[in-house]
């Protein structure tokens, strides 16, 4: 298990001075995850908040080698880096142990980059892919994605006279990735940092592709004060909105079970993006959202052998 005392001694690969917003969940996730790697690492990033805020030419916030290619191809790009590494290693031109990781937001992962990711996973490259899921296209100003939950306001699912925000449920990306039957898949939270770092370590040191889906609260997009990022992460887990689990070589395991799951309204109320969904006339919508969370939880318990 990761120990705070040890983790705090490691030099951050993502240095301070980057231009992500105060309270951004993504930079916290990136630091926790990279602290789990004991070898030199090459980082790839999809176009998105993380990329634009850390590599504004002529500056870079990355102490490791870093590559950004485009929006939808972080997985294909890191697969090329890894393929070259394997090639040079086989030829004896390189002998160092190195690790490879790609980061993408939910836009670059759930949506535009899903094909590239699926291809790289199927091919079996030895790399880690991390989705920092902030539930909308935050970099371009809070547009809906297929990770945006039902009932949420975004600039492309605005709350209008007849439509109260996003009408569709979010996509179960972690389930889709698990269906690829890669060696390691996990869902994690920056609130449970020790769990996340342990999962990241497993992901780095599992041979073959590994995937982490990390909910990354976004003060700007979710409309909450920037000092409450970890609180949001915590509520998402305690309400079963964002369950923590892992799928290791096909075996599902639940990593956290709240003693008593909180009502979804506890998760929704502090977030301005749910303001319209919480109006009295949308009571049924909230009930349906709650039922969806509970149904998903029941299914997860069965998959994890808890029921």
């Amino acid at each position: 298990m990761a120990k705070l005392k040890e983790v705090s001694k490691k030099q951050d690969i993502l240095s301070s001075g980057h231009r992500l917003c105060a309270g951004c969940g993504a930079s916290i996730a990136v630091r926790q995850i990279l602290s789990a790697c004991d070898d030199p690492v090459v980082v790839a990033s999809a176009t998105g908040c993380l990329e634009v805020a850390t590599t504004i030419y002529p500056y870079t916030s990355w102490r490791s080698s870093f590559i950004h290619n485009a929006f939808e191809n972080a997985a294909a790009t890191i697969s090329g880096v890894e393929a070259m590494y394997q090639s040079l290693k086989k030829q004896g031109k390189i002998d160092k142990e190195m690790k490879f990781i790609a980061f993408g937001g939910d836009g670059g992962t759930y949506d535009i980059g899903l094909q590239s990711l699926s291809g790289a996973l199927e091919r079996g490259h030895d790399f880690v892919y991390v989705c920092y899921d902030n539930e909308a296209y935050m970099n371009t100003g809070i547009q809906r994605s297929s990770a945006t939950p039902r009932g949420v306001w975004t600039t492309t699912s605005p709350c209008g006279e007849v439509i109260p925000g996003k009408t569709q449920y979010r996509k179960d990306l972690t389930g889709i990735i698990a269906a690829h039957k890669i060696p390691y898949v996990a869902q994690a939270s920056i609130w449970r940092w020790s769990d996340l770092i342990d999962k990241a370590h497993k992901a780095f040191y599992t041979k073959g592709p590994a995937f982490l889906n990390v909910l990354s609260p976004c003060p700007r997009g979710w409309r909450f004060p920037s000092e409450e990022t970890i609180k949001m992460a915590k509520l998402s887990v305690q309400t079963n909105f964002w369950p923590l689990y892992e799928v290791e070589n096909g075996k599902w395991k639940l990593n956290y079970k709240p003693k008593e799951r909180k009502s979804v309204t506890e998760w929704m109320e502090p977030q301005g993006r749910y303001k319209d969904a919480l109006r009295p006339e949308n009571k049924q919508l909230v009930e349906e959202i709650q039922k969806d969370i509970d149904d998903n939880w029941e299914r997860l318990l069965i998959l994890c052998g808890e029921k």
Partner: protein, 394 residues
């Protein structure tokens, strides 16, 4: 006939060149009419004849994306595509060039959709002409083989470090069987040499960032450098050609002149059509007609001074475009050459012949007709129609 002369398709010849080059990484997706090239290379991989890490991607977009990652990592990288495949990878084609990654990519020319069509024209590579890649066009399987090998040296030259596309005509060259003279493996290996990494990602001692956000304070300077870099590749392309001639006996330049020096009229044509035109030139020369041909090889960087000079003595010239540029004043080859000819005071009369779209055949009679038209223009000094479509029902 040398022991290395074989009857082979253009695709197999290019695949054989890639086998001999033996790149560190190849990431490719099959697409008609390039498919046989990727299949052949897959056999080399399956038989353990190459050291290449072969990345069998799920799309051309990922092919070029993986090539960018692999080349930035620090090794020799190749791919191959055609038409819609090139269109799908388009975004990353630009990124490869601006990142100065020496990727080499045969492009088997095929018409872009739509409507969907699988046969030859040059709309695919012409659409990529502003992407910052060096472009070499090949007349036949031999040139496809030779250009692929030379492309490695051009791309990886430390003064260049740019990606190179090697074009040859879909089906006509890719599937037609021709005699090709192969070099020995070690001759090719010695010619291409060891890959020299330049700012590799795989050096933990020297971490660096590829692909940063480049805004209005630096982007323009970087694009200006790119313009300079591709311009400066011209003498390197010629140096590589001279060296290649030493090992192969086959001369290459920026373009090929065929019976051009004393010609009164001439055609400019890319790739396989130039081969057909040579036959016509021979037949017409036998009848005493002073006709010639210019076959561009290097389209990017465009050797505008050299081409304009080579055409300047003509009375009339027809530029054959196997792609259209809708709404423009002629096809891409025509607009470039006509513009280039402005460099010299006396401009030959000129017409644009757009032909062969979607694999529409062009035969010797068609080309003879163009020469006859040029003859009439030379005599009358009058052009009835500047931009013409040849071989289309109207």
């Amino acid at each position: 006939m040398s022991k290395n002369t074989v009857a082979i398709t253009g695709n197999d010849a290019a695949a054989y060149a890639i086998k001999q080059i033996n790149p560190d990484v190849m990431a490719a997706y099959p697409i008609t009419p390039q498919t046989a090239l990727v299949q052949k290379f897959s056999e080399y991989v399956a038989d353990g004849l190459v050291k290449t890490e072969f990345v069998t991607v799920e799309s051309e977009h990922s092919a070029m994306s993986a090539c960018v990652g692999a080349a930035a990592a620090g090794g020799r990288v190749m791919t191959a595509t055609a038409a819609n495949g090139l269109a799908l990878m388009f975004e990353i084609v630009y990124i490869a060039a601006s990142s100065k990654l020496p990727i080499v990519m045969p492009v088997v020319n095929r018409a872009l959709s739509g409507p969907i069509n699988i046969h030859c024209d040059h709309s695919d590579s012409m659409a990529a002409r502003d992407s910052g890649w060096i472009q070499l066009y090949s007349e036949n399987a031999q040139e496809a083989y030779d250009n692929t090998i030379q492309a490695i040296r051009i791309a990886e030259n430390m003064k260049v470090r740019l990606p190179v596309m090697v074009m040859f005509d879909g089906f006509i060259t890719s599937h037609g069987i021709e005699m090709v003279d192969f070099l020995d493996d070690e001759v090719v290996q010695n010619f291409v040499g060891d890959y020299q990494p330049n700012n590799p990602l795989l050096d933990p001692e020297k971490p660096l960032t590829y692909g940063p956000l480049d805004l209005y304070d630096y982007y323009f300077e970087h694009k200006r450098q790119q313009a300079e870099d591709i311009k400066n590749s011209k003498p390197i392309i010629l140096d590589v050609a001279r060296e290649f001639e030493k090992i192969s006996g086959r001369p290459y330049g920026l373009f090929e002149s065929y019976q051009l020096e004393d010609a009164e009229t001439a055609i400019v044509a890319l790739s396989s059509t130039a081969g057909t035109a040579k036959e016509v030139v021979d037949e017409m020369r036998a009848k005493g007609k002073r006709v010639g041909l210019l076959k561009p090889r290097v389209f990017r960087p465009f050797p505008y001074q050299e081409i304009a000079k080579a055409l300047s003595h003509l009375k009339a010239v027809a530029i054959l475009d196997r792609s259209d540029s809708f709404g423009a004043f002629g096809g891409p080859l025509f607009t470039e050459i006509r513009s280039a000819m402005m460099e010299f005071g006396k401009i030959p009369e000129n017409i644009d012949i757009i032909y062969g779209l979607g694999g529409r055949d062009i035969n010797e009679q068609d080309i003879e007709g163009v020469y006859n038209q040029l003859d009439a223009i030379a005599k009358s000094g009058k052009v009835k129609e500047r931009i013409q479509y040849l071989g289309v029902r109207e």
